[in-house]
């Protein structure tokens, strides 16, 4: 992402990283609709949690970058862990895990994974009301 970022944070690999990442989104309060901020908090929590869970052994890190533009919020979560192929199908309702990326698929307007030296998962939320009905 080029230009100034609204949030740019590198967190050590720990379970607290998800809560710390959500807390860092507080700076966007008042700049995005509350429902959108709620979606952002959930999806950031999912991606940071995934990075922490899959980042591998030892000392890892996860980087969160958020950028606000006129029409959208773009988020990038990067970690040094192994890359993966994103599945987009709904898990069976009898599965207990695997729901994180399904929430990203359902709630974001677009998302994807980029494999390189690091693993990058990104998503975007548009400022206009989502085309997808999201719960109640």
């Amino acid at each position: 992402m080029t230009g100034l970022l609204d949030v740019d944070l590198v967190l050590p690999y720990s379970p607290q990283a998800a809560g710390d990442a959500r807390a860092a989104l507080g700076v966007l309060s008042g700049r995005v609709r509350p429902e959108l901020l709620e979606n952002l908090r959930l999806l950031v929590s999912e991606l940071v949690t995934n990075a922490v869970r899959h980042s591998g052994l030892g000392t890892g890190w996860v980087r969160l970058e958020v950028r606000l533009s006129n029409d959208r919020i773009r988020v990038r979560v990067t970690d040094p862990g192994d890359c993966f192929e994103p599945g987009r199908a709904a898990p069976s309702i009898y599965q207990t895990s695997g729901w994180g990326l399904f929430l990203v698929e359902q709630i974001s307007d677009r998302w994807g994974v980029r494999c390189g030296e690091e693993t990058e998962v990104w998503f975007e939320l548009d400022h206009r009301r989502s085309k997808k009905p999201v719960g109640n």
């Binding site: 998800a18 959930l42 949690t49 922490v52 309702i93 207990t96």
Partner: protein, 110 residues
């Protein structure tokens, strides 16, 4: 400060666990401990009251689903009060509201 509190209340044959705070990867072990303890006392019903939660993601969802799986295996009822919209929608977006036994308030567990 821990960001999840789990309060336990015992009624006849029912254990109500009321959660206050945020339920995620870091706090779900606290819920799992409370559930293990409650389930060990062999109540007919466990109620998970999420109305005091301000946040829940799929790590929390997973803890709830695992509790539901154990309840089904053991022949126990697990009822869930799905809490405020930000929490409830995690169940609706995943359609897991169709699998879980959702109730409006802890008193509805009967």
């Amino acid at each position: 400060m821990p960001y999840l509190q789990v309060h336990r209340q015992d009624r006849e044959g029912t254990v109500v666990l009321s959660l206050v705070g945020e339920l995620d990867i870091s706090s779900s072990p606290d819920l799992e401990r409370a559930l293990t303890q409650a389930e060990g006392d062999a109540p007919a019903t466990v109620v998970l009251d999420l109305s005091g939660l301000t946040f829940m993601d799929s790590s929390g969802l997973r803890a709830v689903l695992e509790a539901d799986q154990r309840a089904r295996a053991d022949g126990r009822r697990l009822a869930v009060v799905p809490g405020p919209p930000a929490v409830r929608r995690v169940f609706t977006v995943t359609l897991l509201d169709r699998r879980l036994d959702l109730i409006e308030t802890a008193d509805d567990a009967g």
